[in-house]
Symmetry: C2
Subunit: 113 residues, 2 copies
Amino acid sequence: MAGAGAAPDNGVSRFCPRFHHAVELIGRRWSGAIINAMLPGPQCFNELLVVIPGLSDRLLTERLREFESEGLVQRTVIPGPPVRVSYELTKAGKGLKPVIAALSEWAERWVEI
Amino acid sequence: MAGAGAAPDNGVSRFCPRFHHAVELIGRRWSGAIINAMLPGPQCFNELLVVIPGLSDRLLTERLREFESEGLVQRTVIPGPPVRVSYELTKAGKGLKPVIAALSEWAERWVEI
């Protein structure tokens, strides 16, 4: 095993900034649960609140804004009355499905609650 | 779309506490990068510090302790001198490989840095 300052033993960096960004993005508090809950299709804000117990209005708003700015979620205003706002995963957001599936499988096998 | 208080439209809860625990665990700051860096095999503390730019001693220590207490990492003291400490993913930790792979693929496709 190498000491501090040595190059990784395989000569290839095992750190990828894109991967790091992705894991920090979906790892933010409630992000995984929200994306998971959005996979079935477009949903209203309140629907998302209902299916994720313990999630607050404030945090859901914050996460949805982040997802929008990262291009994972498309926000659509549906003219009323009453005006409604629908949130839907973009192609990039839907692309997280295999990640969610792999993590669900792992959780089922290894996480004890 | 249903309003506040309504049941999810598919009648099935889309929230799983195990999944939630798993995503919060690997989503903690640097967790993904550390697990990714540990996949090749057992490593010393300093090796991990070297392959993950920007990661501090303090945070690496914190994450490794969490991983140990969650059963993802096995810590082994190798008698010296000098005494060395090696960190290795357990079977549960190695089980995250498909998750990391799926997320890497997604990041490669969708994340622009």
